[in-house]
Symmetry: C2
DNA sequence: CTGAAAGCGCTAACAT
DNA sequence: ATGTTAGCGCTTTCAG
């Protein structure tokens, strides 16, 4: 078998110095080396192609200089901006970012087996995106592993470290847009109510409706589960009734379930936005290409990622984490063709 | 500061045995322990919440039990099935999979700085997906790091370890479908010709056209760069000519550039499939929701991921890697609304 | 059946 | 200005 990577000891030997000298020098520590010594060490390292062994260093330093980011499902493209934010901060602070798709570790029981992810001892801390509120496993696991953890895009009353957005405001922007178009009969394809985000978006929906003096009709609300099929089923439930009992617009709690919603709407023979307006949260290039192109709300996802990473990293150096809500930049509407004034006969509010 | 994780030494002490005994026993090695010893060790480990330190183990074993998967851009959702395949195999063999978005390490020079990814020494080997042929850095880097590497979905004449698909056949399926619909004037929004996949898809296109006795018109071929804007521009180049000089169908070399293509087509006031049929490679739920829904070719991506991971893992135990082409399962057509017979006046072949 | 001891590659006091 | 030494937590001969 071929020789592995050269070790520090070998470099030192080649340069005729002690390992400690080589170690200091190669890390740029201290100042006063004899110019010749420095040269010899540098040359030797260069010549042998020396690269420090992270593992040995980590073992010695008791620090991996790496953090993990756990996401549930990479097919859900709504999260990439969060990832960007996390990446930026990690790079700035010279941490390695390890992305892990949590679904990958799902055991037979349906629950996620966090142990199977093999992150134990490979990272100094972990960012958990979109963990549902009722997944006690994450928290337990992080505790057992003594792994500092920050929840991203999900808060949990019982956990002290999280970064979320002002979902109330996000949803308010959507409702406002619809109201301005003349809608009064508005329904909601929500996220799972057991998730913090799903819950807060739904509460935000109710609040925004009340603010505009509109009725929240339970039969116009259904759980789209934040995924494609869920969005489809929810829309079907809400819309498969006589025309006069239907809402004229649907606020959808995330982008991928909005795709399912559109699908159901078309299956029912309805047109968007002629019969029904649809607006969704989370902006992505895909929204430009749906049929019709989707009006969306762009949220501060990148900032969310940044703040979460910053919090995790600073908590590694002893700072106390906290519950943070991102409010800047504010959510902005990206108006496309899926929203329009309600059909003439549908503008009456019978709620 | 709070006590870290308990060490093996502490467990051993608590159980009143030597670390070596605890080590063996906890790993399930050997057989003959005194029942009482076993119980004491197990109890102690349980009580203290012992988890082995991966780093120390890795240092000792000279093996990380982890592999990396480098992808260029997570916004490109075409790769998730490959990821699934890789994940399966990694899990089966109890390897941890670290996903890294390579774009993240891009330096100012535009090139990717692989060192900055910080994978060095954290993984035993690496899978590189979609690396372009002219990126000498990857190969150099892997060599310098003595990191076994397998190229996924990209071959390179000079590199001995890769897994690719039969792009010739993938493209043939698309051309065949169009020909069966009656098209004879077919254009191609290709991938970058400096990438192996882009090149092979284009060659496949030319070959398939020849096979059907159709002319390959250079002005009907443009590089869509495998991304959104590229697909848009390429389509514009090809289509922004008098109607009688346009193709009646476009074969697009990947899904995301097909979105850009659709966008350009609409901007030009053309309808799909009325004026122009569009077919793309790579299947994804998003294709069901474009306007109109896209006819695609589903390729054996998962299998590709599996084979690549298997090759990497087996090369870690000394097997010689090779260049593999996946041919099974065969590519299958997913027919949707974006393909139809050519317009009556367009079926004439003036090529 | 279990313990002692060496050492993976590195860093950080503590010497000179 | 550089060398000596100990040790991070684990596995593995080699001895009993």
């Amino acid at each position: 078998m071929r020789r592995g990577r050269p070790t520090l000891r070998e470099v030192a030997a080649a340069a005729g110095v002690d390992v400690s000298t080589a170690s200091r020098l190669l890390r740029g520590q201290d100042m006063p080396y004899r110019a010749e010594t420095r040269q010899r060490v540098l040359d030797a390292a260069e010549k042998l192609g020396y690269r420090p062994n992270q593992q040995a260093r980590a073992l010695r330093l008791q620090r991996q200089q790496a953090i993990g980011l756990l996401v549930p499902d990479l097919d859900n493209f709504g999260f990439t901006q969060i990832l960007r934010g996390v990446q930026e901060v990690a790079a700035e602070q010279e941490y390695t970012l390890m992305l892990v798709e949590a679904g990958a570790g799902a055991g037979e029981g349906g629950g996620i087996s966090y142990e199977r992810l093999g992150l134990e001892g490979r990272v100094d801390g972990i960012l958990v995106a979109f963990a549902s509120m009722d997944d006690p496993n994450v928290q337990e696991w992080a505790e057992r592993e003594r792994l500092p953890m920050v929840l991203v895009q999900r808060g949990t009353p019982s956990y002290p470290a999280s970064v979320v957005m002002d979902e109330q405001r996000n949803v308010a922007v959507m409702v406002q847009h619809l109201v301005e178009l003349g809608h009064r009969r508005i329904g909601h394809v929500s996220g799972p109510l057991r998730t913090d985000t799903g819950l807060r978006r739904q509460e935000g929906f109710a609040a925004a409706m009340r603010e505009h003096g509109l009725a929240v009709r339970p039969e116009w609300i259904a759980d789209g589960g934040f995924h494609w099929t869920g969005g489809q089923q929810a829309a079907r439930e809400i819309l498969d009734v006589p025309a006069e009992e239907r809402p004229t617009a649907l606020v959808v709690a995330n982008l991928i379930s909005a795709l399912g919603t559109l699908s159901a709407v078309h299956d029912l023979g309805l047109t968007v936005p002629g019969d029904l307006s649809v607006i969704a949260i989370d902006e992505h290039i895909v929204a430009e290409h749906t049929n019709p192109p989707l009006t969306t709300v762009q949220t501060p996802q990148r900032e969310l990622g940044r703040r979460a990473a910053q919090m995790l990293l600073s908590s590694l150096s002893g700072d106390k984490p906290s519950r943070v809500m991102i409010t800047d930049p504010p959510p902005t509407l990206v108006v496309r063709a899926s929203t329009a004034p309600p059909p003439p006969d549908g503008s009456a509010d019978n709620g």
